[in-house]
């Protein structure tokens, strides 16, 4: 309370208080779309230093804020109006929640007196969003707005990050009140930080040292907490091979000798093999999703699991653990590094296990059968990797191209690869790429896309062009909903239903109609030129790369089976 008195009281509207509070949080950009119930907020853009980036659909605004948040590690902000505007951002909010991305979504709401009367464009967005937000606020008085923003940002970015919704009735936006902007506040039921757990870190070290076939499994938490350096030091000190979840892809340089890449449904063959042979796993910031580990029982039955996570509720949710270390994973890994250094533990490369790991990796490098054509997915993505600077940011859409990216696009610089891994939201990659580019304008940003997924938010081309946010959309175009088609080929007797998109639209013309650059690459030479042209352009570019609609993503661990049941290319 003392700090409230220090803050000068000022009379202003709720809308002005919102923008002032956002400025105090350091917000420079807001992604959004105006409507009747958020016009008072929009009017404030005329009087503040925050840039508004107009989207053509609220879902895209949320994905842009999500992409911004994942790259900058500060909450991205999106605005939507009440009713359909609010329901449109729900998919974006749920996507951020599933992948623990920091976001603050601000919706307009009908005036307080109209709530519950089925007013025009009224939706109970607080009720609808409840299961997919980290927290939601609905200030009922203008003077509650500053605290909702301060608490909202704090909740969104601390602990396990996530989306926060602030739903502001229109009269709360227009009413004037004496405002204070508190620096200090208390949230009694929220304790995002745990003290570092020295005892269990020590136990974890003992367990790793006493196991014959240890593996490190790095998840999304390793990326969120930027534990890259610590992870690498530990892997190198203990000489433990590193696999990742798909969300953790690129938490460890994929060209490192100890790297095996992602495990899971479409994991690398060598990663899945080594994971199934290991006797002990150091799991860092992962929730053991079914897509990563296959059937839970088969996974935990064989393994001693050391689980590090910032969220205590993840311990024991999907897997029974032998040692649990609750807390920020970077902090926990730092303690581990310190203890290892103190004990002067440094392993060498000559263990039987490491030799076996190297041989397995070598074997699959030589023996994994790839698509024989010139324009196979592996060749296309390796070409992109060859030409794309390591610091570039890559997002993906959802589908076959996403899993090919997982298999064939190596992330060299940690923390440069982002995907909708939890909710699997088609249409995420392109708007997220725009958000990423806003967060980091100095690097190239590429959305590895498929035609089906890109179609869902392709109108974000308008945002990319008009707001001058030049990202590259890299479409592996198989003229179909390729992943569904693959499942129909594999599990439904080739009965292809509802998957054929044909060559509609023409993505080159589509790009051009928005004022973007459209390029088509039908050979490796054309692809080489197209990528170089796109990287040298200052306008958003779509590269349309026709591929074989019959190419499957392999290896494949079928749903409901274990990692050892991997299906390989024949």
């Amino acid at each position: 309370m003392a700090s409230d008195l220090v803050n000068k009281m000022e009379t202003m509207t709720g809308a002005k208080a919102l923008m002032t509070a956002l400025e105090k949080e350091g917000v420079k950009e807001v992604f959004g779309l105006p409507g009747g119930a958020n016009l008072p907020m929009y009017d404030e853009f005329a009087r503040c230093n925050i840039r508004h980036i107009l989207t053509r659909h609220e879902q895209s605004a949320a994905h842009m804020a999500d992409g911004f948040g994942r790259v900058s590690r500060k909450p991205g902000v999106c605005f939507a109006t009440s009713g359909p505007g609010a329901t449109n951002i729900l998919t974006g909010i749920a996507t951020a929640q599933a992948d623990s991305a920091p976001m603050v979504a601000v919706t307009g709401q009908v005036p307080v007196a109209m709530i519950g009367r089925d007013a025009f464009q009224e939706s109970d967005i607080i009720g609808m969003a409840n299961p997919v937000v980290k927290y939601a606020f609905q200030p009922r008085h203008a003077n509650e707005v500053p605290e909702a923003v301060r608490k909202g940002f704090f909740i969104a970015e601390t602990g396990r990050p996530g989306p926060v919704l602030i739903d502001i009735p229109k009269d709360v936006q227009t009413n004037e009140a004496e405002m204070t902007f508190p620096d200090e506040f208390k949230i009694r039921g929220y304790h995002p930080w745990a003290d570092p757990d020295m005892v269990n870190v020590e136990k974890a070290i003992d367990m790793l040292l006493n196991s014959e076939k240890p593996v490190i499994l790095a998840g999304g938490g390793a990326i969120i907490s930027s534990a890259f350096a610590e992870l690498q030091v530990i892997a190198e000190l203990l000489m433990i091979p590193v696999v990742t979840t798909f969300k953790g892809k690129g938490s460890f340089p994929e060209n490192h000798p100890l790297s095996l890449g992602p495990i899971g449904m479409h994991g690398h063959a060598e990663a899945n093999k080594i994971m199934t042979e290991a006797d002990c796993v150091l799991a860092i910031g992962t929730r053991f999703s079914d897509r990563s580990v296959g059937t839970f029982e088969a996974f935990e039955k064989r393994l001693k699991i050391i689980h590090m996570d910032v969220d205590p509720a993840e311990i024991g949710k999907n897997q029974t653990t032998s040692v649990a270390v609750v807390g920020d994973v970077r902090a926990s890994l730092r303690i581990m590094v310190k203890m290892l250094t103190q004990k002067a533990i440094k392993k060498t490369e000559d263990s039987i296990w490491l030799k076996h790991v190297r041989e397995t990796k070598e074997y699959w490098k030589e023996n994994l059968k790839l698509h024989p054509g010139e324009m196979g997915a592996a060749k296309i993505l390796r070409k992109l990797r060859e030409l794309l600077p390591h610091e570039s940011i890559v997002t993906t859409e959802v589908g076959q191209h996403q899993m090919w990216a997982s298999l064939f696009f190596d992330v060299i610089q940690p923390g440069t690869f982002f995907s909708s891994t939890g909710l699997g939201t088609m249409g995420w990659g392109f708007p997220a790429a725009i958000g990423a580019k806003v967060a980091k304008p100095t690097v190239s940003v590429v959305d590895i896309a498929g035609d089906g997924s890109f179609s869902m938010t392709e109108n974000s081309l308008a945002t990319a062009v008009l707001e001058d946010i030049p990202v590259i959309v890299f479409i592996l175009n198989n003229f179909s909903l390729g992943m569904v088609a693959q499942w129909q080929r594999t599990f439904y007797g080739r009965r292809m239903i509802g998957v054929d998109q044909k060559n509609c639209p023409d993505y080159v013309k589509l790009a051009e109609s928005y004022g973007a650059q459209g390029l088509r690459a039908q050979s490796m030479d054309e692809l080489d030129r197209a990528i170089k042209t796109a990287l040298g352009s200052d306008v958003a570019t779509v590269i349309d790369i026709p591929i074989d609609p019959e190419e499957d993503v392999l290896p494949f661990v079928a749903p409901g089976t274990s990692l050892s049941d991997m299906v390989l290319p024949s």
């Binding site: 299961p131 980290k134 927290y135 009694r188 039921g189 509720a313 311990i315 024991g316």
Partner: protein, 160 residues
């Protein structure tokens, strides 16, 4: 396993909705729930009883604890806890002796009799859920017309 959970939560609109929604969305079950404001009007006390194995109950506690509006979440040991539920039964009176018989039964369980009318009477019983169910079994032959139960309220004994 039957478990009693005691929650101290923010006394704000929408909290009950959030708690029950979490149970639904994570495929947990609420056996009973009772809510009331505490001596400090900023907080409410919720008592939730649920059924699940040890692992499930542990997950429920963790998921409740994770919620920002819960201040404190505890699983209570039923042997170290005072827990009671209020129930009201409306029971049919068919024969002349029924009201006397039901009165005796109510007394045996520490219940109180209300609203004795031609054809029906009411019994108020505050007891453990087991005792309420035992009473219900014995009252069944008379014909139970209606039952209202509050769910369990519970507090751990001092020093337990």
């Amino acid at each position: 396993m039957w478990a009693i959970l005691s929650l101290l939560v923010e006394n704000k609109p929408g909290i009950l909705f959030k708690i029950t929604h979490m149970f639904r969305s994570r495929n947990f079950n609420i056996d009973s729930i009772s809510v009331g404001v505490t001596d400090n009007p900023e907080f409410s006390r919720m008592t939730i009883t649920t059924i699940g194995d040890e692992k499930k109950v542990e997950q429920i506690v963790k998921q409740l604890d994770k919620m920002i509006d819960t201040i404190e979440v505890k699983q209570l040991d039923e042997h170290k806890t005072v827990y009671r539920e209020l129930s009201i039964f409306k029971i049919k009176l068919s024969n002349a002796n029924d009201s006397m018989e039901i009165n005796k039964l109510a007394n045996a369980y520490g219940g109180k009799v209300h609203d004795v009318k031609k054809g029906s009477m009411m019994v108020e019983l505050t007891a453990t859920p087991d005792q309420i169910e035992a009473f219900q079994e014995l009252a069944k032959p008379f014909g139970i017309l209606d039952v209202a139960r509050t769910g369990v309220a519970a507090l751990q004994r001092s020093g337990a």
